[in-house]
Symmetry: C2
């Protein structure tokens, strides 16, 4: 339950934090920019006037707490998704903007090898495929 997640992060349970976590958890869409969240929240009936700055602050706190992951896809705005614990990478559909997730053992294994070959220990990686549908 999301209340627990917030509490475990050492954060107080507030309306903005609940709302944001809720949207992230219960939407078909999984990736949101701060501004998208802002617009969704602004259009809710129970509009509580949550500011954009707060959304950024909450997302940054959630990121630090390991609740969400921030991605810097191209196109200016960062997008955030819930950290499901299952690592995956992304295909960005350049036609529709849709984001597809995938997991690939070959890539995961290979990147470790590459890092090691060069005398490094992998900390993080960024693997994004920008692509267009085969039948245009």
């Amino acid at each position: 339950m999301n209340k627990e997640d917030i509490k475990e992060a050492g954060l107080k349970i507030t309306k903005p934090r609940m709302r944001i976590l809720n949207i992230l958890e219960s939407s078909a869409q999984k990736h949101f920019s701060a501004e998208e969240l802002f617009h969704i929240l602004s259009n809710e009936e129970d509009n509580s006037g949550i500011g954009l700055a707060t959304i950024y602050r909450v997302l940054t706190q959630f990121e630090a707490a390991g609740l969400v992951i921030r991605h810097n896809f191209e196109g200016g705005q960062a997008v955030f998704e819930l950290d499901s614990g299952e690592h995956h990478d992304h295909i960005v559909d350049m036609k529709s903007g849709k984001i597809i997730e995938f997991q690939d053992e070959i890539i995961e294994k290979r990147q470790e090898e590459i890092a090691k070959q060069h005398g490094y220990r992998l900390i993080d990686h960024c693997f994004i495929l920008y692509a267009e549908p085969l039948e245009d």
Copy 2:
């Protein structure tokens, strides 16, 4: 020769463009941010007062012409490198900030397969390993 490259891009041969291309071509370092180039140019004896805006403009034109590649590594500033024609990916040394280039057939092949599996044609990709030296 770089004059040719500039001309072929349909651009006039100007001091800022020559200087920038020169630095990119003849430095040990291969990756530069706009600001780094700005500082290098500002410190040259023959300081011709090249503005930061010009550097951004020139780099953007060079990118459009296929002369340079722009990378958005994490840490705010974009970095630019000459497009040698040989595709490669990068390891970013989080300790020193150094950038290591590598080529890997397994990764290249695999990403094509992944895109195809999902019904996509690969347009571009971003593969960056953030890592630290093994012996800290």
